[in-house]
Amino acid sequence: MTAIERFDVAATARDGVGVSATRPSPRKLNRTAVRFLLGIALPIVLAVGWELAVRAGLAEGRLMPPPSRIFETLYALAVTGELWVHIGATLGRVGLGFALGVIGGTLIGALAGASKLAEEILDPSLQGLRAVPSIAWVPLFILWLGIFEESKIALIAVGCFFPIYLGVLGAIQSVDRKTVEVGRIFRLSTPQLVRRILLPAILPAYVVSLRQGLGLGWMFVVAAEFMGASEGLGYLLVDGQQLGKPDQIIAAILTFAILGKITDGLLASASAPFLTWQDAFAARH
């Protein structure tokens, strides 16, 4: 029996008796560590393999630089402070665009979910707009809002808006009538019904839609920064291409990956305390 199998058995036995573990036990921490190690094994093997291949002269490494050169570039960018400027610019755009998308998507989704009439008026148009590839808005946004920050943030907000709108609308529509009846039997007023039944019922789907929205926000920030920016991680990509610096491109891609993962993890862990009641199916398998 391998160490990992033993962890599995221990976790299953514990979950099987139905102990609700709100505090992470030492075993659970061990399990998290093992999962982390398993997850990073593949990229590390590939990176080390490429590094060795380049050093041994088996590969040239000009268009696909070895990890050591990428980290050198990354380090150099960090030391000069240039990297932080780019990260700050990109984070600011994603943050602002995401915030606008969340506000718009949540409000309009809630409106359409609460009122059949509002849904019938709004939803067909929004579904039509959703079918437009969001990049197609770029020329229009530039004409309307100029080449600077406003058009970039508008594009990101549009990208974040749709999954959140759809998530909120779908979540409200799928709230079980039977659950609402429980609230009626206990004579909840409408605000109480919203607070004690509707909000907790839609929260899981809402968190999923927020994470999808944020993912799209990261996607669209690249498109936005391609359309002319003097700073930002997207600028690093374009700059790397124009000056023939693949190491800079990959360094920027790595930074995107890390930032995307961190922000998604923050969102997930911020919502986790409200979702402990859910079947932790994914966590067990």
Binding site: F186, P200, L203
Partner: protein, 256 residues
Amino acid sequence: MLYVEAAEKIYPNGTCALAGLNLEVEEGEIVAVVGGSGCGKSTFLRLAAGLDQPTHGRIRVDGETIVKPHPCVGLIFQEPRLLPWLTVAQNVGFGLAELPREKRERRVADVLRRVGLADYGGRWPRELSGGQAQRVAIARALAPHPKVLLLDEPFSALDAFTRASLHEHLLDLWNAFKPTLVLVTHDVEEAAVLADRVLVMQPNPGRIAASIDVDLARPRDRYGTEIEAMKRRILWALDQSLRRDSGEALAPAAAI
């Protein structure tokens, strides 16, 4: 305690689910309502719970006409309908929000103990078996100490052993609080074991076909000859009600 005066319910599609139902249930009485599908028994329960309004007539509890869910009336659904984001204790205390915290917790602990789930307060609903979940639902309905408790086929989704044990739990609770119980059921044995009076309803339009008094002392032996005889009597009345209704003998087994 519970007065039904010529209650009639016609749904928007024209179906007359209930035609002029008259009924008087005394305080602390246990009434079972049996009948084939479409006989209006669930409609009657929804009217008494205040979830729907009668088209004509009225339903009064303790002198008050029911127009919306009433604090004196509790309802237990066919499924537990626990709120999955609340612990067992929070579910049981759901209808006690206006009580001060300490009083609420004492009340919750008391009811949970009575349904045999004293140690389950911190569990999540997903960790319960079907029978446990329905016991929590019973505890939730009883926690506000309703004077009338309506039960809509509450044990029909459970296996026979669990059902029998829940009958005992329900009778214990009834002994403790003496609420008026109106139990809609498909199960003739359940009606015979629990009720003081069994109402047999028939469909098209929904009305009471027969009323059978169950004059048997409690505790009752569900395998005894008296219960057997009572079950046969109820079945016979059910059979008659379905025969008269359609002119053809529908299998009464369909109503069990």
